[in-house]
């Protein structure tokens, strides 16, 4: 799942004829003056300024300012651009026209196994979460398009009447086209409103999740995807993502503040069972990580350095199932090199390492890990005869 920020998301909407408010994205308040000339709407409209970052709860954090004139916009932009949230600086703000409106609606397209569902409601904003059962749906099979009558029926079922039925159906068709043509996974407008200036349905907000795997057939995707868990990526996460995008196989890292058990397991499946084991046994995760698909040892080394350097950790779980083709000896060589580097920086005092693994070259890999004991590492090494997650029980003393 790959999430887009509001600016590029609305740009994509416009490409498929879905109307959005006038807006600009800036990274410095001093850019505003030079942009007024080409954005005449800024002179005579009320505007809203929002932090243009992957942050949840922007309103509560004071990162959304509404009902502003141009002077207010400059002040708000300047103020927001000095803010930091959880140590991450706000780099961009989006300035959009405020469109007065009476009613708010909700529309979304959600991918399903057989195709997609179009979701529609004649209410919007926070009412949607509260009345989720009343949101109406219609199904479109993969490879097909919704018919106009199908969409009109949906609009009527959702409570629209009069000329709005036709308008909604037409709008929904364009919105679906955007979802379908841009390899959408979930796209949503909340609120959707009628712009009194031109009587057109307009998207005041945009949630856009695209399929990152489809990037190869979208040369015009000139945006980067943003984190979709309510904060921007950290430096370490970005670094590992950068490596991940370059190598065969994969290396992944998500940091979790305050945890004491660090994960360095192999495999997308096993890594989640290790996370489950830590949480079930009352431990706290300092991160989620995994490497798989026989990545080069330098990539595993880079991941190891980030994981072993996490502050406040007490245990590192170097777990893994019995690999099919990931070379245990080679990937462990990366982990060992990483541990050595971090320890040289004096960062691994009091940290205990727990290893369990099987797969190609398992004997040599495990033996190399065992030898770390002679270098003064606090490490316990187990082979395939110890069940997968038992090392978590041992680490947490359960």
């Amino acid at each position: 799942m790959a999430k887009l920020l509001e600016g590029p998301a609305m740009g994509l909407f416009e490409k498929w004829g879905v109307k959005t408010p006038y807006k600009i994205v800036i990274s410095d308040a001093s850019q505003i003056d030079s942009l007024i000339d080409s954005n005449k709407w800024m002179n005579d409209r009320k505007m809203v300024v929002k932090a243009h970052e992957a942050l949840g709860g922007r309103f509560k954090l004071g990162l959304v300012k509404i009902d502003l004139d141009i002077k207010g916009v400059k002040e708000a932009a300047e103020e927001i651009l000095t803010r930091e949230v959880e140590g991450l600086k706000i780099n961009q703000v989006i300035i959009a026209e405020m469109i007065p409106h009476d009613e708010e609606y909700y529309i979304a397209v959600q991918s399903t196994r057989e195709g997609a569902e179009i979701l529609l409601a004649k209410f919007g904003g926070i009412e949607v979460e509260e009345n989720w059962d009343k949101v109406k749906r219609t199904f479109v099979e993969v490879g097909e398009k919704p018919t106009n009558s199908q969409l009109q029926d949906l609009a009527k079922e959702a409570g629209f009447d009069g000329e709005l039925v036709g308008k909604i159906a037409e709008f929904a068709a364009k919105f679906f086209e955007c979802y379908d043509s841009e390899d959408g996974q979930y796209i949503e407008i909340n609120p959707l409103i009628v712009n009194p200036k031109n009587n057109e349905l307009t998207a005041l907000d945009a949630v856009t999740n695209l399929d990152g795997d489809a990037r190869f057939r979208h040369p015009d995707w000139n945006f980067t995807f943003s984190a979709d868990f309510g904060r921007e990526y950290t430096r370490s996460e970005k670094e590992i993502m950068e490596i991940d995008s370059k190598v065969k196989g994969s290396v992944k890292l998500i940091e979790i503040q305050g945890g004491t058990t660090a994960l360095l397991p192999a495999g997308g499946g096993a890594s989640v069972f290790y996370s489950d084991a830590v949480v079930t046994l009352g431990g706290t995760l300092a991160n989620y990580s995994e490497y798989s698909g026989d990545p080069p040892s330098w990539a595993v080394e880079a991941l190891t350095i980030e994981v072993a350097s996490l502050p406040g950790i007490k245990n590192i779980i170097v777990g893994g199932a019995i690999a099919n083709f990931t070379d245990v000896k080679a990937t462990f060589a990366g982990i060992i090199a990483g541990f050595r580097k971090v320890r040289k920086e004096g960062k691994m005092d009091g940290v205990k390492i727990w290893v369990r693994r099987g797969g190609p070259n398992e004997l040599a890999g495990l033996e190399a890990m065992r030898e770390l004991k002679n270098e003064g590492f606090d490490i316990e090494v187990f082979d395939r005869y110890t069940p997968l997650t038992d090392i978590v029980n041992m680490a947490l003393g359960k």
């Binding site: 991918s111 196994r113 057939r217 499946g269 489950d276 989620y288 199932a321 395939r384």
Partner: protein, 609 residues
Amino acid sequence: MAIFVDENTSVVIIGGPAGISAAKRMAEFSHLNNKPFYVRAFVFPPDAGKSADVSVGNQIVSIPIYKSLKEATDETDANTALVFVAPSRATKAAMEAFDNPQIKALSMITEGVPEKDAKLLIKKSKETGKIMNGPSAIGVMSAGQCRMGVIGGEYNNLKLSKLYRAGSFGVLTKSGGLSNEIMWIISQFADGITTAVGIGGDAYPCSDFVTYLEMFENDPETKAVVIVGEMGGNLEEAAAEWYGAKKRRIKLIGVIAGFCQEALPAGMKFGHAGAKEGKHGEGSARGKSEALKKAGAIVPETFGALGPAIKSVYEDLITSGEITEKKEIPVDELPNLPKKVEHFVEQGDMLVEPLIKSTIADDRGEEPAYCGYPASELINNGYDIPHVVGLLWTKKLIGPKEAEVVKRIIMLSADHGPCVSGAFATIMAACAGIGLSQAVAAGMIMIGPRFGGAVTDAGKYFDYGCKNFNDDIPGYLAWMKKNVGPVPGIGHRVKSVKNPDKRVQELIRHVREAKLDTPRLDFALKVEATTTAKKDNLILNVDGCMAAILTDLGFPNESLNGFFILARTIGLIGHWADQKRNGGRLIRIFNYLVNYAVPSKKKVPPLEK
């Protein structure tokens, strides 16, 4: 019995190198089971017409490579396709396989296939009634019968997990790594597997749990199925629904990953592409576990409890008489993979007569070692190119004074302009469009008795003279005249006493200042004093000067020409690059530069029969 793939499966692999490595793993499986190899063809247009060699035991089997799937199925009896091509082409390849009447089932190993494509493949699978495993699958393993892909891992694991004979348990996992783990657990806690399917970790695997569950239900040999699910999607819920819908013959054991999600910040995504809870909590690990439990499946609380749960199902099956204990084959009765010669040599069980002997360099460690010294350590300790020359040519680590002389000799001899034989030959070759190594070799060929190749001989005869005629220069010259001819290292075409060779002067000045002991150089200069008295240009030339000094420094006689060759290589490479840069045109000399001393035109006589 088995599901999906069995002893009647014959495979066409669509894809290049990754497909060939998978075929090698599959061949290991054939060897373990002592059965014929079942990969029939590859489809890989760049290598179409060639064949790929795969060793099955100690036999090499050549598998043909075709341009298209159609060709492959026309020419072979392949009935199952294994797809390895890149995500941008995988869907098209799979669609062709669905449409090919000879292909009955598919497995797609390709990762990163767009979800929309995966959904189109699901639709196609329904339309054609063919099963497709994947995308992002690790493959399918039917114990003792067929291995599709690398599932099962390395050879020893196949043995340890008893994959050479069928057990009583089916396996369905989204994760590839865990499919191996579960097969291993089942072999330890029960009697092994019938078939294991890694269905793939994407959001929309083509054939779902229910499809395979129905196949297992219809396979009498499978008594129980282990499902390893994950949060995200609703395939586990569908499996639970299927299981609970009516009385099923098979026992179902399920374990779901993703409970950690409850303790994590909302939206934080772990694991496989498909492992994501819905916006409204759909597809949570807890929801899936509850659904399976409700449907009557055995659901251990943790992954750790899975082994004992499997064991208890197995013991019930034995008690009820549904299965009897399998007779185990002792591991040492199973075939081993044939070992390579290297293995026996390493173990010390085989003596191989070496082909060559080397006493100067060793490449068997992490980096080359020159006469025992690791290259990086030489660099890090400040050693330089002359020291490497010393080590590789004379096996000696030379001192700083010697190194300085060698460096100066190389610098002074690196080039002598474009007109000399060597450089001119290289330039001619470069202008004729010849590549670097051959053009430099053309220049090298010129090095010989008349050009640059007199160093070795000069060294040899100065050394001889120094030892035998040190105080008798006329005697030396007479001996040379009688036995050798002109003294090598003496004489120059253009340089003379009045027009001295600056390079020679520099070298001599340096060795004097460095206070090096140079008996041969001293001797050569005495010879020069005599010869220049006779003729102005019979001076000590640069070859002779180098030769005398290098011999004084202890370099063996046979290495001396090497200094000129080494140094001049720098210049020759430079001339080649220079011509390339300037776009030098083909050289053809003018007629007036040739003296055509040929007979006048004659009539050709008729050829005698």
